[in-house]
Symmetry: C2
Subunit: 241 residues, 2 copies
């Protein structure tokens, strides 16, 4: 039972609501009749990590060193592998990986791979993500490696996404905000996206599969499913990004 399962280290708090969503979904998706059948999760919910998007824009300190410290603490506490519940912070993945000798499972490559499994033959996807995630090309590069094009919000739409993101982080999940997020997704679909990637862990708090006329690939859901599969040993962690 316990001996076969891996302990999961979770870099979280970026933001906390997204980490709570991840935790809730891990519990929902783990078949368990008793406490002992659930996964051992070590959650480092550290909302004090410097803002990822401002760091990428050169407007604030790098979160890299503190993410590396969090990773080390999780490893010392017994984590067998790491996940991070924030897409944009994956811009600092190299610093995390340099700090520890346990595998780091990337939400970016897991989401890309889940998209390929779910939609074989897809040519163009739309990516709803924060400025830090888009400016560092995390999703664009990951999909390009598999010959898939990406359409992303530009100009006013990108600013609007960031405004919505900070409102979600401040607790707003109301109907008007949900409709605004849906409108941003619809713009990408009108530009040719065959599917929408919710490439920011705050997006699934306000945008749902039934809101769109095309598939929505939810990066949090993908990370949940991968985390459970790796922890239970049903899937092997590969190192290729």
């Amino acid at each position: 039972m316990s001996s076969e399962q891996k302990t999961v280290g979770v870099l979280g708090g970026l933001g906390p609501e997204a980490t709570l969503d991840f935790f809730a979904k891990v519990l929902q998706k783990t078949p368990a009749k008793a406490d002992q059948e659930h996964l051992h999760l070590l959650i480092n919910n550290n909302p004090k990590v410097p803002n990822r998007n401002e760091a990428v824009a050169g407007l604030g300190p790098s979160p890299g060193p503190i993410l590396a410290e969090m990773a080390k603490a999780l490893k010392q506490a017994g984590a067998d592998f790491l996940v991070m519940v924030c897409n944009a912070a994956h811009a600092f993945q190299a610093e995390i990986e340099a700090a520890v000798d346990i595998p780091f499972v990337s939400i970016i490559s897991e989401t890309r791979d889940a998209t390929l499994r779910q939609l074989p033959g897809v040519k163009t996807v739309g990516v709803l993500a924060s400025s830090g995630c888009l400016n560092t090309g995390l999703y664009q590069n990951a999909f390009a490696k598999k010959g898939i094009s990406t359409i992303i919000p530009t100009g006013r739409a990108r600013d609007e996404f960031m405004e919505l993101l900070y409102r979600i982080k401040a607790g707003d999940k109301g109907t008007e905000l949900r409709l605004s997020m849906r409108a941003l997704a619809m713009q990408l679909i009108q530009q040719g996206a065959e599917a929408i990637i919710a490439g920011c862990t705050e997006v699934p708090l306000v945008l749902f599969d039934e809101d769109l006329p095309c598939p929505l690939i939810n990066s949090t859901d993908v990370l949940v499913e991968s985390t459970i599969a790796y922890a239970q040993g049903r899937r092997k962690i590969e190192s290729e990004p």
Copy 2:
């Protein structure tokens, strides 16, 4: 900001659903307009801890050593003080405290003290708690120190509580289960309880204030409120149990 706040170490996973409930309530009750205003929580969600109630009954291994290891890991990862989201496991509090030199905030004494603040002059409270918690007298002794009597489920009612508890842990939060939990509370009220203590972190998942004709003191809510107050430095941690 961050420097003034304490980092909270959470002994959790006992069960995971109660830990999720605690995490959700900490986020709800922390006024925050941005990620960085939330608390730094280190959550050791370890559902592999041996069953507390079986251990107290002499039917299984003690969870004490593993709880002590979890506490050490949380301290090493940077926790300034510890809380544990499980009432019955407080039977092993001494082992936890012996393992680390950071304060441990007891859900039992916090709940007792919150009851005294909310209901000055209360003479008799009813305690809904698991067999391990009741058999070790955690609440009975804590209230007796302040001259307050406790009424607890006995005989068939105590067995029924345990059946409900394991059904909640297996995911059942349905109406029939809620009515059964309410009936157990009503028995204590009919025997003279002026208030009900939800002295098990699974109880607040199915029993709510509006269900009862008298006050319900929810141990999870109390621990959430105390955790935030101690982390923000608005209240000082005292060592007296």
